[in-house]
Symmetry: C2
Subunit: 348 residues, 2 copies
């Protein structure tokens, strides 16, 4: 972490108290404002081995729905009454951990709150605000961009000339997948929830075509857009769009299961078309991807994303809310599909 | 093919006519006797470039249900009025193809009939009756054994100490999977349709445990048999056993979709539990396997299977019907689960 340029802490607004967004009720589907309460406590102080982060950018991620639920997830649920689990970018304002320097910017598990007392285990990546805007470290350089890049390369293994379909194409992950797949020479098709998003995907994010999944003739439009079948399906949504896509896969196609936001509760398990016959007859490979299995690869992947940003080969969009008061409604907004690009909250 | 020992054709019974099992009606589910008719024609003769095979062993394979159907498969449907597509082992009794010697035994696409006029493109593998009983070339050395070996190694990638679950464990594929997984040091668990099959799987085919899937407490029994979760699920059946197995997979488990016999029609598509959330949160890799994508690997794979047979490391069971008259009912019997091991028909 010593390679970062420490920031002048005097330039930061450092509130005297700590506002925390607590999860107070277990949501069944998407967390709504009523599932949270904002509480104001004294600004905490780190014990030996700990440090204090002043959060500036709070990430809003679809995965937080699962973290708030106590069923069917890959991690322990956020306890009721605890600060909502979240990734953030912040600055170390006080450190009693020898390897963490005051003034350093970090990306990590610091939660939806003004301040976080943390140990180094909570750090995901160092942030260099001279290298890229610090907000990008919760977006295109954070979980979203890293997921887009690593899942596409690892599981999708797209080759030039192949057709790559992406659902939630206008979101924080999809906007990056489209551009990288285009850079790799693929024919990239997006599925989105509005004509406006479709236009943005085509104009800015590498998509040769983007289809509003609400159109009545979606099945036919998808066949027309993917005349040789889909070689890679980067799926952020699951549900009926997944079923339709599987039935349009080319032989030996790859399916990346990165999210399942089309269903907002998995308890009880929703029902739908059986898909094993498609897996068999098309010889598909369908694989789940959780970015936190790949933390050791973040430095190299971030370097690649930064290089593409430097070249102007990648661009991004941020949907920034102001103030921690916007956090309790942020997941409902995200699941409503209001945003284009990365949804985040600035609390500086 | 020259390495085979030509057989003395005088030892063979060579009927003067050719009985063929024709597909005369398109089945909706499993082909029943009424979907076939046996027709007797003159014994055919090969044209230049062709050869004539006298079939001796007809294979009965679950995949034939799909070949007889005109929907949702990986190959063209058998035309109505044509001889039922099947793999067989037979002897070349007349050859006008320079590369095919009379008296040679072959495994190939020679159909449910006494004789087949074929070109060399129909050959899958040479058969050496001095090396192993020729019937084994439609079973443990044929499609079933090759599928078991290649799919398990390619997709399953089992490591010693891992738990491998196999459905249709007592069938032509499952009996081989169990033994190979055991050879690799795995804890092998089978799912079968009767207590008798379960016992046979445990006693003869490498299974540490085999569960009758009809038992009321199957979910609990599966959890007990796989306390650390399932690392590899070799699935021949699909359906609700697949759903249950997915929910008992260990993180980063592999699912081999090799068959889907629990549903006998896929038109219209059956419905069931949505599984994409399991793929995601458990980071599963689920892949379809069709043996005919791997024909170039048959010689090496067969050599490995023969070596294991020679060592006594592999054994097999055959369920042999007599006479071509038994062919029309054979698929109904197979789907009823009457057989243990490879189901085939001897017509010599």
């Amino acid at each position: 972490l010593s390679s970062n340029h420490p920031t002048d802490l005097k330039q930061l607004h450092l509130p005297g108290s700590n506002r925390r967004v607590l999860l107070i009720e277990r949501p069944h589907g998407v967390p709504q404002p009523a599932h949270f309460r904002i509480e104001e406590d004294a600004r905490p102080h780190p014990a030996p081995g700990e440090f204090l982060v002043r959060n500036l950018y709070l990430s809003v991620d679809a995965a937080q729905r699962g973290w708030a639920t106590d069923a069917n997830n890959y991690s322990q649920a956020v306890p009721l009454g605890a600060t909502m689990r979240a990734l953030t970018v912040g600055v170390v304002v006080e450190s009693r951990a020898s390897e963490v320097t005051e003034g350093t910017w970090l990306y990590g598990w610091f939660g939806w709150q003004d301040y976080c007392v943390a140990t180094p285990a909570a750090i995901l990546q160092p942030v260099d605000p001279k290298r890229a805007p610090p907000s990008t470290y919760v977006g295109i350089l954070g979980m979203n961009g890293l997921t887009a890049y690593l899942a596409l390369m690892d599981i999708g293994q797209p080759r030039a000339g192949e057709t790559v379909l992406v659902s939630a194409a206008a979101g924080g992950v999809g906007t990056v997948v489209g551009q990288i797949a285009k850079l790799l020479g693929c024919n990239v098709i997006g599925l989105v929830g509005s004509d406006d998003k479709a236009r943005t995907c085509r104009e800015r994010f590498g998509y040769a075509e983007a289809l509003n999944h609400r159109r009545a003739d979606l099945a036919e439009a998808l066949r027309v857009a993917c005349p040789k079948g889909i070689d890679v399906y980067f799926d952020n949504v699951g549900g009926t769009l997944l079923d339709l896509s599987l039935r349009n896969m080319a032989a030996r196609g790859r399916v990346i299961q990165c999210g399942t936001v089309s269903h907002t509760s998995w308890s009880p398990t929703p029902t739908g078309l059986r898909n094993e016959r498609e897996i068999l007859v098309r010889r598909l490979r369908w694989e789940g991807f959780i970015i936190f299995d790949h933390v050791h690869r973040f430095p190299a992947a971030t370097a690649q994303l930064l290089a593409w940003l430097d070249e102007g080969a990648l661009t991004y969009e941020e949907d920034v809310s102001q103030g921690i008061e916007s956090a309790p409604r942020a997941l409902a907004e995200l699941y409503a599909g209001d945003n284009i690009g990365k949804k985040l909250i600035y609390i500086g």
